[in-house]
């Protein structure tokens, strides 16, 4: 039967990405020009310790932190918000530096990722070309939960 073919749907435009800092505000990046998103976990989940005789101990490691890279086109609403966010954090008091949170909601996969302690790793590079380019925002996060 032709109708029995199974398939899944993926849609980046449906993925809602939000960044929020109580003192800067909230921006729905996905509606403001945000593009490709990459999340990288910093630590390993496991490692092994082995002896000279070949005995192996598996180490179960806990690592919750990681990095996010966002591609955001020059001068988009998201870019303007992120610029404001970065320049505020640059001057802000230490106590509010790591208050940002980010969430990524993928309704097609019924998956929500929540990031806490989001900070900019470095300021994005500036590029002025004939057409608008994508600016790369590299962020670090302290923790991630999936629901």
């Amino acid at each position: 039967m032709a109708n029995n073919q199974k398939f899944s749907v993926y849609s980046l435009p449906d993925v809602v990405t939000v960044i929020n800092h109580p003192n800067v505000g909230k921006c729905v990046l996905s509606n403001a020009g945000g593009g490709r998103i990459t999340v990288a976990y910093a630590g390993d989940m496991a490692s092994v310790t082995n002896t000279a005789t070949g005995y192996v101990v598996i180490n179960k490691l806990v690592a919750k932190n990681g990095s996010i890279s966002l591609e955001i086109p020059n001068n988009s609403e998201a870019d303007i918000f992120m610029r404001k966010w970065v320049s505020y954090l640059e001057k802000s008091k230490t106590g509010v530096f790591a208050l940002s949170t980010m969430s990524l909601n993928d309704p097609a996969a019924k998956r929500i990722l929540n990031f806490t302690g989001v900070v900019p790793q470095k300021k994005p590079d500036e590029g002025y070309d004939q057409t608008a380019g994508n600016r790369q925002y590299n962020l670090l996060f302290a923790g991630m939960t999936e629901s």
Binding site: N20, H21, G25, N31, K84, Y88
Partner: protein, 163 residues
């Protein structure tokens, strides 16, 4: 120069926030005026029966309680029935798109299109309605004789008397 913004303050959880209300452009404004005249003024008018003087409070506890029950059971449902969910959404969105909140990092739009720009307002329906009131009164105060919606109310009453 024409004044196109106005600052208002609201207390939220014992913290004072400053908001900047912007003027609507003439086209959006006239649409809003239609909504205000058609839907909001009758609504506010029917809410008047809910508002009770404090003198009454002390004199007649029972009557006040009766009035409140009447408000909850009859007045509010009837008044809200005239506004559809979509109309209320559109009206609030248009209002909140014209308000900025002053956060530590500077002014931030309360709403940008369909999205909220700050959690201060996002989870506070009462504050959202207060800000809508600020937008309406700032934009239409001059239209209704400089006294904001209180003069709108009087206008509405005089319409009814003439009818």
């Amino acid at each position: 120069m024409r004044e196109t913004t106005k600052k208002v303050t609201h207390m939220i959880e014992e913290k004072e926030y400053t908001f900047r209300v912007r003027k609507l452009n003439a086209l959006d404004g006239s649409f809003m005026l239609k909504f205000v005249a058609e839907k909001l003024i009758p609504l506010i008018d029917s809410f008047q029966s809910i508002f009770v003087d404090h003198d009454d409070d002390e004199k007649n506890v029972e009557a006040v309680a009766e009035k409140r029950t009447d408000a909850v059971l009859n007045v509010i449902p009837k008044a809200l029935a005239s506004i559809s969910k979509e109309e209320l959404y559109d009206f609030q969105k248009q209002c909140l798109n014209n308000v900025d909140i002053l956060l530590e990092a500077g002014y931030q739009k309360v709403m940008s299109g369909d999205d909220f720009g700050t959690e201060v307002v996002e989870y506070d329906p009462l504050l959202a309605l207060l800000l809508c009131y600020d937008v309406v009164s700032f934009n239409f105060a001059s239209f209704f004789g400089g006294k904001g919606l209180s003069s709108v109310l009087k206008l509405q009453n005089s319409f009814q008397r003439n009818a």
